[in-house]
């Protein structure tokens, strides 16, 4: 029998299909691997961090003793009023058996060293509390917090614990009486940084990031889009524009710490701008994000079909009318996507901020563009560096917050693109 072409084709078919099947399996494996790593990341961060959203509180009955507080009619005297003594007094009242100086100290170390500030703030808000007794939930010290959350074991040798047997006994008594409980951690979302894990929050860093991003967005988007439009639509294609294009592409690949050094040299040392300020952070991030936005915007402009340009020019639109009436509306979704992805990258960037002093330990929540501030990723870096067990879960929780912002921004990019996309 003579072998016809179709026989030869059929003979080879099996091999072809096997190759295709193999390739599909590789693809599925690749996707599965990346999904597994992603799940691993989320699970490890989630399991480490979810406890940070709860905090251990101890109930104290605070007696606002006029004798201890002294003159409370003036604001100035309030500052020096002895609130720590009030807290101490109420604690000792719960444990009358504690007498020695050393034991008293161990007892007061169970509650947060920030407790007296809470009492003071309460009192400032309502001065009529003087002479009254109030039940107040006070944040516990981070060692107690870790114990209650089960991060430190009760069973280990006393010498290897941060809390001794006596303290454990007190805690058990508090538990029995229902005077200790876990509540939603509002401090984490409203406070600035602190040396005490139980008092540390991300609001300061989040505000710093927010101000930095505002500066970055306001500067990089208009400048980037304007540069892209000029280069793509108006500039003559010659050696100069080629050189500029190559340099912009190179800038996009420059390590971010170099931009930090540039910011240090130019904005801080030459222009004398304030250290650790979101304004400078935003300027540095702008430099870093600009090439990304320019490249994305140029790609978006290039993808607008030439027939639309010809149509506009054909009815006598000027170059600028053509760009702003027809090309830009079609390119805008791509530009927005590029800008948001650039912003998301800037939000997660740490290195350049280290160079301009946004790595400082800053307790106050910044209220403006020139206040000292830090940013979310820098805060994560600082907490990850801290030895206290309490900062471990805070680090993971801060990562969760940062990731939430990033995912929200990327989702926004997708939504904006869908909304503004036009078909032609």
């Amino acid at each position: 029998m003579i072998e016809t072409n179709i026989d030869i084709v059929k003979k080879g078919l099996g091999k072809r299909y096997r190759a295709e099947k193999r390739f599909r399996i590789y693809g599925v494996c690749a996707i599965a691997a990346s999904l597994i790593f992603l799940a691993f990341l989320f699970i490890s961060i989630g399991t480490n961090g979810y406890t940070a959203f709860q905090q251990t509180f101890i109930r104290l009955s605070i007696y606002f003793d006029p004798e201890i507080l002294g003159d409370t009619t003036h604001r100035e005297s309030l500052a020096s009023a002895n609130f720590p003594a009030i807290v101490k007094q109420s604690l000792l009242k719960m444990f009358p058996e504690v007498q020695s100086r050393g034991e008293k100290k161990q007892l007061t170390s169970l509650i947060s060293s920030g407790a007296s500030y809470y009492i003071r703030d309460m009192f400032v808000e309502d001065p009529n509390l003087i002479g009254n007794t109030v039940q107040v939930w006070i944040p516990a010290d981070d060692d107690v917090d870790m114990l209650i959350k089960g991060h430190t074991e009760r069973g280990v040798e006393e010498a290897e614990r941060r809390l001794n047997n006596k303290q454990l006994g007190w805690i058990e008594k508090l538990e029995r009486d229902g005077n200790i409980e876990k509540r939603f951690n509002t401090i984490f979302f409203t406070a600035g940084d602190s040396r005490e894990p139980e008092l540390a929050g991300i609001w300061g860093a989040a505000s710093g990031s927010f101000f930095t991003m505002i500066v970055t967005l306001l500067l990089s988007f208009p400048i980037g889009v304007a540069a892209a439009i000029y280069l793509e639509e108006f500039a003559k294609k010659n050696r100069w524009t080629d050189i500029i294009e190559v340099n912009i592409n190179n800038l996009a690949a420059v390590p971010s710490i170099v931009f930090g050094l540039l910011g240090l040299a130019v904005f801080l040392n030459f222009f004398g701008m304030p250290r650790s300020a979101p304004l400078v952070g935003g300027l540095v991030m702008t430099l870093m994000t600009l090439p990304v936005i320019i490249i994305a915007s140029r790609a978006a402009l290039k993808s607008v079909p030439p027939s639309i340009r010809e149509a506009a020019l054909g009815v006598g639109a000027s170059q600028m009318q053509m760009v702003f009436h027809h090309v830009l509306p079609l390119a805008l979704p791509g530009m927005l996507t590029g800008a948001i992805i650039g912003m998301a990258r800037a939000l997660g960037e740490t290195a350049p901020l280290l160079m301009i002093g946004m790595v400082a330990f800053i307790v106050d929540v910044p209220s403006g563009f020139t206040d000292p501030a830090t940013a979310l990723p820098v805060q994560i870096f600082l907490w990850a560096d801290s030895p206290e067990r309490g900062f471990l879960e805070k680090t993971s929780a801060a990562i969760m917050v940062l990731l939430t912002f990033l995912i929200a921004m990327n989702a926004l990019a997708v939504i904006l693109r869908k909304k503004f996309e036009k078909r032609w």
């Binding site: 149509a311 054909g314 009815v315 006598g316 027809h326 079609l330 036009k422 078909r423």
Partner: protein, 289 residues
Amino acid sequence: MIIEKERAELENKREFISKKEPLVSRENRKTVGHPIVENPRMTCRNVNVYYGDKHAIHDVTLDIGRNEVIAMIGPSGCGKSTFLRCLNRMNDTIDFCRVTGSISLDGKNIYDKDVDVVPLRAQVGMVFQKPNPFPKSIYENVAYGPKIHGLVQNRVETDEIVETSLKKAGLWEEVKDRLNQPGTSLSGGQQQRLCIARTIAVGPEVILMDEPCSALDPIATARIEDLIDELRGNFSIAIVTHSMQQASRVSQRTAYFHLGDLIEVGSTDQVFLNPLHQLTEDYVTGRFG
């Protein structure tokens, strides 16, 4: 049917005529026929076009008369589209394109330094090969040109110009109830008529058409051809086409281009029935092209 009949008649006449006089030889690239007319709308003299080092159009001299349709035919890559795009300086957008010689509209050279391309393109409108309506509503598509040129001051005037333009383009009846729908939702033929409406809304003197029917089916093509015939009353039209039948149906004059040279210009009947140049005869008889 009609086309076949026409072709048969053409063959008969050609056989009869072609035996009469010797044709200009293929090697001779000088333009033969009648490139110059009396009282022209546009005059092109010694036009050369270069794309970088490539010499795309060689020394073309051609007039476009008033209220006539001039067809430009020729094999692919012969430069007919390039030449057409010179007539409203569409080639300005290509950085490495250079034009020498003179192209005048009503006696004024459009390549003079002091000529602004924006009003020029309002006077010399263009319809492209592929229908390219803006991704906006039908109304906006037509109203855009008059708006940017300040030809309309208020909604009433705009409505009026949109209606008359769509009527002239023979599209009004089909779209009058859905002017707010996107122009891209129309069929190909309707889109092309929308593009013609958009062009005539600006009130040009000359309309350039670059293979306006090449992306359309025969019925849409027939409608556009009828439209071109009607528009001739008000405009001068230069049309580039691949289809010789179309050229013979819609045009009064025909220019045959070959590899960047303008070979022959004459009345359409003469060019198709009694070409003077060997290359023209080769092309119109279908020997190549």
